[in-house]
């Protein structure tokens, strides 16, 4: 197989990505190849560049070096294959608009310039809201939503984009347990439909349950692979440094079936 043909098999391919803020590297020489149809968690300590990785991939911030391919094409040409869920805190939820309106924003790119969303867009948005379980809130003002409902709104907006690859920045941050489960179900549904979902995640405890692939990041990429291969004690220590050394005894590969171990990691991760 030629190099070119091979690269097309990856839903996302990042080569030698370097991003610098004021000449301090936020990401250094990062490589990441994600096959189609997986749920990938990006984990790492604060300041590891997790959000930066997504933003650089989506051309939202300038890259110092490196290339990005989505299904073999640069982002500019693959935009309609990509859905995006930004961090919930990145917008002002007191903006005068409704849940349905925000959801329809996911269709603006398809509607094109100068045109307004119509009946068809409204229906698409409604069915996305049904999917995330908040269709009854469609006409509600967004400032009246709970955190979980805000997150579902953002998710619905990404769903109407009908993308192949989804990027989600901390979708589980500060949502209630019911919402968290609802989101997980949607992620799994997306995977069943052959979509690829890349999620910035902060809770090491749930990585095993929610995801099948994991990328451990701390400015440099420490490890990428299936959760079974990459989510090891050794790699976690490399990612979180001495801060995780406290758990000591269980060095080397950890028992994959044990959730107790990962719970311990989570505590250490939270303590960081």
């Amino acid at each position: 197989m030629t190099e070119q043909g091979k690269s097309c098999n990856w839903a996302l391919e990042i080569n030698d990505l370097t991003v610098a803020y004021n000449s301090k590297p936020a990401l250094w020489d990062v490589d990441l190849r994600v096959p189609e149809g997986v749920l990938l968690a990006i984990v790492g300590p604060n300041g590891a560049g997790k959000s930066t990785l997504i933003k650089a991939t989506l051309d939202l911030i300038p890259r110092a070096a490196g290339s990005i391919r989505i299904y073999g094409k640069p982002y500019r040409q693959a935009r309609n294959l990509v859905g995006y869920v930004p961090q919930r805190g990145s917008v002002d939820w007191d903006f005068p608009t409704s849940v349905l309106d925000v959801t329809m924003m996911g269709l603006y790119g398809k509607i094109g310039w100068f045109k307004r969303p119509g009946k068809k867009e409204r229906e698409l948005a409604m069915s996305a809201l049904e999917q995330v379980g908040i269709a009854h809130l469609a006409h509600r003002q967004i400032s009246q939503l709970s955190g979980g409902q805000q997150q579902r709104t953002f998710l619905a907006r990404a769903l109407v984009q009908d993308a192949q690859v989804y990027f989600m920045d901390e979708p589980f941050a500060a949502v209630d347990a019911v919402t968290e489960r609802a989101i997980v179900n949607i992620l799994k549904e997306l995977r069943e439909r052959g979509k690829t979902v890349i999620v910035v995640h902060h809770d090491l405890q749930t990585v095993r349950d929610y995801f099948d692939w994991v990328a451990l990041l701390n400015v440099e990429m420490v490890a990428v692979g299936t959760v079974y291969e990459a989510f090891t004690n050794d790699n976690l220590r490399k990612t979180y440094g001495g801060r995780i050394a406290g758990i000591g005894a269980a060095s080397g590969a950890i028992d994959v079936t044990s959730t107790r171990d990962s719970a311990e990691y989570a505590e250490v991760g939270d303590a960081v």
Binding site: T97, S98, W113
Partner: protein
């Protein structure tokens, strides 16, 4: 609360009515709408509407201070344009626009290249440009040329200076601004709400920023001779701030903001047009902030009076419910649902709020006075108490088990009765749990 709120149309209708009344009223008060005054009034209304329209976006983008910096930065541009071209409005505005634009770029450059934050950068640019402008003005005033008079009108604004040709210019530029907003409505909305998402969707965010920013600069520059460089920011943001109180819909907010702006602009222009000694800017701002004040107080949902009233209602409602259950439980201990509870006991239990609760329960016919300072449940009071007691138990069970039973999340924040919050099958699930619990308790006792 539905977001297509209809009361907004009432506010808009009332504003239109005030407009209609304003003209005959002012005539009755002795204002004569001669040619000059009509021109000034129309000019003021149009400028107010344009500022109101673009002020909506300025406020939502949290760039109010940027607007202030821009208008101050325009002053040296006006002075330099005067030195070059003389007192011609078109050139003065071009000068103002260029200086304002340079000021904005200066702020951006300082913020991007140094560690100085945006507020400090604005402060630096605003004061520097304003000082520069004042220096130029005092220099111009020493020139022998007689036509220099009136340039300092740009500091506080002077509507009387508006002539027919200015109104034509305002109409042309205003039409362009309106078309710009209409054409790029959904794009402007998107970059204002969520820039990152817009960027990820391939919208040229910087270009749209530049376009919207240019429209805002145009609105500011046009408004300068009406409101003056110092107070222009008030004319830009006050109508939008007032409008935001009344609606949750961007379109409605923009229309309302335009009406508020038009009203402030027109009334300010007319009042100062009658007595040319009065500077226009302060009058416009006084009118505009009266509207803001009224809106902050009286707007439904967001208004202070509304909030205060709702808190009072909640206080009374919960006082009544709590005291009702107190009386009921007290009665149950005596195995007689109509057994009276002494007021002193209820007060000891609940504090002085018990008095409030008793008052409203009595008013609703749920309790009756028996003997001195003793209260007993009426039949309807007993039914209500049983209902409330059960409701509280169901809530407790919901909080405890909703996840295990995967019950839907509750959405009516201000609804107390759980039976109105959940679908029937969910309620019956909780009822089963409640019955099990009470059966167990009965068995134990």
């Amino acid at each position: 609360m539905q977001y297509k709120s209809h009361h907004v149309w009432w506010v808009i209708a009332i504003m239109a009515l005030i407009f209609l009344i304003f003209i005959p009223l002012s005539i009755a008060l002795g204002v004569r709408y001669d040619y000059t005054l009509t021109t000034v009034a129309v000019g003021g209304a149009l400028l107010g509407a344009i500022s109101g329209m673009l002020g909506t976006f300025t406020v939502l983008r949290k760039e109010s201070l940027m607007g202030d910096a821009l208008s101050h930065a325009a002053l040296p541009g006006i002075a330099i344009a005067f030195l070059i071209a003389g007192r011609q409005l078109g050139w003065l505005l071009v000068g103002a626009g260029i200086a304002g634009w340079i000021g904005a770029q200066g702020i951006r450059a300082i913020t991007n290249t140094t560690r100085i934050k945006q507020d400090a950068a604005m402060g630096i640019v605003l004061t520097t440009f304003f000082a520069l402008g004042l220096t130029f003005l005092s220099f111009i005033q020493q020139l022998p040329d007689a036509s220099q008079a009136g340039l300092d009108q740009f500091i506080f604004g002077q509507a009387a200076a508006i002539v027919r040709r200015d109104v034509e210019l305002i109409i042309i530029v205003g039409t362009f601004a309106l078309l710009g907003i209409l054409f790029f409505w959904k794009e402007f909305k998107l970059i204002t709400f969520d820039r990152e998402f817009a960027g990820a969707n391939g919208y040229p965010v910087q270009l749209l920023d530049l376009l919207l920013g240019t429209l805002i600069v145009v609105a500011i520059v046009l408004g300068l001779q009406l409101a003056g460089v110092i107070l222009m920011v008030g004319m830009l943001i006050a109508p939008a701030v007032a409008a935001r109180q009344w609606t949750h819909h961007l379109g409605q907010m923009t229309i309302l903001s335009m009406m508020f702006g038009a009203f402030s602009g027109a009334s300010g222009a007319v009042i100062s047009g009658i007595d040319t000694g009065l500077p226009t800017g302060p009058i416009i701002i006084t009118v505009a902030f009266t509207l803001v004040f009224i809106s902050l107080l009286f707007a439904p949902e967001r208004g202070l009076l509304w909030t205060w009233w709702r808190q009072l209602q909640d206080k009374r409602r919960f006082a009544a419910i709590n005291v009702l259950i107190d009386i009921y439980r007290h009665a149950c201990q005596h195995d007689d649902p109509h057994y009276p509870a002494p007021e002193g006991y209820l007060r000891a239990l609940r504090g002085p709020i018990a008095k409030t609760g008793l008052y409203y329960l009595h008013k609703a016919g749920l309790i009756r006075s028996v003997g001195k300072d003793k209260w007993a449940l009426t039949d309807s009071g007993e039914a209500a108490a049983i209902h409330e007691d059960r409701n509280r138990l169901l809530w407790a069970l919901y909080r405890q088990h909703s996840e295990a039973l995967s019950l839907p999340s509750i959405r009516e924040e201000r609804e107390i009765d759980i039976r109105h919050c959940l679908p029937e099958d969910a309620v019956s699930q909780l009822e089963v749990l409640a019955n099990e619990l009470t059966d167990k308790q009965n068995l134990e006792s």
